[in-house]
Amino acid sequence: MNKPSRTEKIRSRLEVEFNPTALEIEDESHHHAGHAGAAGGMGHFRVRIVSNDFKGLSAVSRHRRVYAALAELLKTDVHALTIDARAPGDLSG
């Protein structure tokens, strides 16, 4: 019992890596039940993150940073991520 949920594992990785000023994680796995990728028990998650670390980076670079931070979880817990990563003050991710 009290094993950290997948959402908590994602949250703690992103907090350590990016020191975000805003962070929301939603488990959307239920939207995808029955789909091939959900079969192995790995989840779909939506991440919204705002951090100074993303300042000046292209969208591809910001997403790569998030994927890199979660690389281990992508092997075991996470099948798909929807990412919205931006720097404070950016209007679009």
């Binding site: 995808h32 789909h35 091939a36 990728g37 969208a59 591809v60 997403h63 790569r64 994927y67 690389a71 992508l74 798909a80 991520l81 929807t82 990412i83 919205d84 679009s92 991710g93």
Partner: protein
């Protein structure tokens, strides 16, 4: 040919290329379907590779592009992004502009 050689050849011969799960008419993943939808909404001429048909390319592409998920959209051999970036660029008009620049809008 090795998987990386196949990837390089595919990217060199297709100005707009989508690596996806399934095909544009029968996508096998919601994210691939959304990306096809964004391209079609731009009237884009694009090629696709169904990664389920070439597991070696599927694995090799993740490290080649330093991007762990699919779909992956390439324009002139450069990774544009996955579904989130493609859809956002569609909404802002940037996707159509980029496709027009490479002559890939019907």
């Amino acid at each position: 040919m090795t998987a990386v050689e196949r990837i390089k050849e595919q990217l060199a011969s297709n100005p707009v290329l989508l690596y996806m799960k399934g095909t544009p008419d029968f996508p096998q993943c919601g994210f691939s379907a959304q990306t096809v939808g964004a391209l079609r909404a731009c009237k884009a001429k694009f090629a696709h590779i169904n990664i389920f048909e070439d597991p070696e390319v599927r694995e090799a592409l993740k490290s080649y592009s330093n991007w762990p998920t699919f779909p992956q959209l390439y324009v002139n051999g450069e990774l544009v992004g996955g579904c989130d970036i493609a859809v956002e660029m569609y909404q802002s008009g940037e996707l159509k502009q980029l496709l027009a620049e490479v002559g890939a809008v019907a």
